[in-house]
């Protein structure tokens, strides 16, 4: 009799504990959307798609889904890998592609035929122009993503290097 009551009590305890855990797992589940937002904030927002995803948000979603590694952001470089590693508790690894020096697109205006294809491709709307009018790049807003180069039918877009930004030396 005593054994049976003990079994019933222990069983009930285990069951209630299990139910509580199951409820807590649903109630306090990590909010994936919040994590996506947090990751997206760390990314440089160039929308360059050089990570293999169409923009910074899709890349952040891919990281959360476990599809992408944390070292695929090229413009972010080492800084972003470190920040993502800190956020997600992942080990540091070198960036997959070494970021080149900051570049901006430049349209050779004499050759531009005014097809507006590059305007449609630009993710940050930094190319201005109209049909059959020459186009030009707002250098200050260009992120150097190179997405405007493939659609250009006359190959009149160059990537130009910006003067490297001076970094203070460690004393």
């Amino acid at each position: 009799m005593e054994m049976i009551s003990a079994l019933i009590v222990m069983g009930a305890l285990c069951l209630s504990g299990g139910l509580a855990l199951a409820w807590a797992a649903r109630k306090f589940a990590g909010n994936e959307n919040a994590l996506v937002v947090q990751i997206e904030e760390l990314l440089p927002q160039t929308q360059c798609a050089q990570c293999g995803y169409p923009g910074c948000k899709p890349y952040a979603e891919a990281i959360v889904a476990g599809e992408a590694d944390i070292n695929q952001c090229q413009p972010g470089g080492e800084r972003v890998v470190k920040a993502l590693g800190q956020l997600l508790g992942a080990d540091y690894r070198p960036p997959a592609k070494v970021a080149e020096k900051p570049m901006v697109a430049f349209i050779r205006e004499a050759e531009c035929i005014g097809c507006t294809l590059c305007i449609k491709a630009c993710p940050v709307d930094c190319i201005i122009g109209a049909p059959k009018q020459m186009h030009t790049v707002i250098t200050a807003d260009c992120t150097g993503c190179t997405l405007c180069i493939p659609p250009c039918p006359v190959n009149c877009i160059d990537m130009e290097m910006l003067p490297p930004r001076w970094q203070p030396e460690r004393p």
Partner: protein, 492 residues
């Protein structure tokens, strides 16, 4: 005097004044062959050039427009624009973009139109910037302060070896009083206090004499202490108020202007004269005739030093600014800017600081002397370990780089140099974050635009379909009749 019991700011040091040549009358630098004006600061664009190579400019003509609140730049002498390109700079970055004028035309003066009525815009267009060292845009400062509770005129000049403000007050005391009264009528402060240190006896007596019976300008003679001339420290000493971290004096309703800035602002507002010249202290054992010199902004350090008998062989280091806060320069082609208060040619006899960085012995003296109430040794260790965020939380951005901690450190650790480095890195990070946010906004704007266009298109096609479905029955009958006709013709 009422300031005898004034509160003292935290920390600070008593330093030997070493003001060689302070008593000598000011001299005027002969017109240099060329003038250099910087368009960038640490490679970041601050000014937009508005002249072309080969163009002739007149004395006082605006050659670059300041971006944002930055004051414009004016030619100190007439001449021809010789070049626009990189030049050795006085800031941290080795080279800056600059406009170079070859002086040749001295007769004509550029006439500024007097359409601008707003005083802060006028100060900006006349190029007035803080002349105590940091070159903060004066127009912005005056605008932020509004009608201040207290207006402090800073003639403290606490840094050793510097004497340009002292010389200015001694020689132009009457004009300074006139300038203060003119500006006081413009900015309407509740109280006006002119602050000096008591060891500059000549300046104090000159100001007393010039003030005479004037009662609305209070004269505060403070016991010398470094860095009393810092804006926040001066407010704490005179008014017993502490400027909260991350804010400016304007938040407390206080405006602080250096004496030379007051003069420049007076010239700008009353006479529409741009800021083109300033008084610069030239000192150190490396010059034979130390003293204060009126120098056109844009003159090369070399020209100024040579005028004062520069001995290049004995000089170990040339700094722009005082011995505590100044920066060593690598090239004598560096030009004088609006914030250049001194050019020092330091030799072995000037007791140069040599940082040989021994381990920290945790003596805590740096914490005692810090006027911003920070813990330099803790910040230093965090910077060395790369924990910049932690350093930031402990007040890195409140460091005023006065150099008191490095001066007293028995282990000769380059404390201020580390803080300046860390501040720069933090500023660059902030900029990158702000840019990322800006680009993010552009992307969102584009997405919103595309979505709006898509919905408009969908709406249009939907309405077209709907229009096709609801046709006028009379018209439909006509169509049907026509169809019948056609069919009957085919059948025939």
């Amino acid at each position: 005097m009422m300031f005898g019991l004034a509160k003292k700011f935290d920390g600070g040091l008593k330093l030997p004044p070493n003001k060689h040549g302070a008593e000598a009358p000011s001299r005027i630098l002969p017109i240099p062959e060329s003038l250099t004006y910087y368009l960038t600061k640490n490679i970041k664009e601050t000014h937009q050039c508005i002249v072309n190579i080969g163009e002739t400019v007149l004395f006082g003509q605006s050659i670059a427009r300041g971006l944002g609140h930055q004051p414009d730049i004016h030619a100190a002498y007439g001449g021809v624009i010789e070049a626009i390109g990189s030049k050795a700079g006085p800031y941290d970055a080795p080279e800056e973009q600059a406009v170079i004028i070859r002086t040749s035309e001295y007769k004509n003066v550029y006439k500024h139109d007097d359409k601008i009525k707003n005083k802060s815009d006028l100060l900006k267009s006349m190029g007035v910037a803080g002349m105590g060292g940091a070159a903060f845009p004066t127009g912005e400062k005056v605008q932020a302060a509004g009608a201040p509770r207290v207006w402090l005129i800073n003639g403290v000049e606490c840094e050793p070896m510097l004497s340009c403000d002292q010389c200015l007050m001694r020689e132009q005391a009457d004009k300074l009083v006139q300038a203060i009264r003119y500006l006081a009528a413009e900015i309407m402060p509740g109280r006006v206090i002119l602050a000096l240190e008591s060891d500059k006896a000549d300046a104090v007596s000159a100001m007393r004499l010039a003030l005479g019976d004037v009662t609305d300008i209070e004269l505060a003679c403070l016991p010398p202490r470094y860095p009393q001339g810092g804006e926040k420290q001066l407010i704490q000493t005179l008014l017993g108020l502490e400027v909260p971290s991350g804010t400016h004096a304007a938040h407390l309703g206080i405006l602080v202007l250096n004496v030379a800035t007051v003069m420049a602002a007076f010239d700008a507002l009353a006479y529409h004269l741009p800021l083109t010249h300033r008084l610069v202290t030239v000192a150190g054992q490396g010059v034979s005739a130390p003293g204060n010199v009126w120098v056109p902004i844009g003159a090369a350090l070399k020209d100024v030093l040579d005028f004062c008998g520069y001995d290049g062989a004995a000089t170990l280091r040339v700094t722009v600014g005082g011995p505590m806060m100044g920066r060593a320069v690598n090239s004598l082609d560096v030009a004088v800017t609006k914030g250049t208060s001194a050019i020092l040619a330091l030799t072995a006899a000037d007791e140069l600081a040599v940082y040989s960085a021994q381990p920290c012995i945790r003596c805590g003296v740096c914490t005692e002397v810090c006027p911003a109430r920070l813990q330099p040794e803790d910040m230093y260790f965090n910077i060395r370990a790369g924990r910049l965020n932690r350093t930031r939380e402990t007040g890195l951005m409140d460091c005023i780089a006065c150099g008191a901690c490095a001066y007293v450190c028995p282990s000769e650790i380059p404390l201020v140099a580390s803080f300046l480095y860390a501040q720069q890195i933090c500023r660059i990070e902030d900029e990158q974050k702000a840019r990322a946010a800006y680009i993010g906004d552009l992307v969102k704007a584009r997405d919103a635009r595309l979505a709006a266009r898509r919905s408009v298109r969908m709406g249009k096609s939907a309405s077209r379909e709907a229009a096709a479905r609801t046709v006028d029955p009379a018209a439909m009958e006509k169509v049907d009749a026509a169809r019948e006709k056609a069919r009957s013709k085919i059948d025939k």
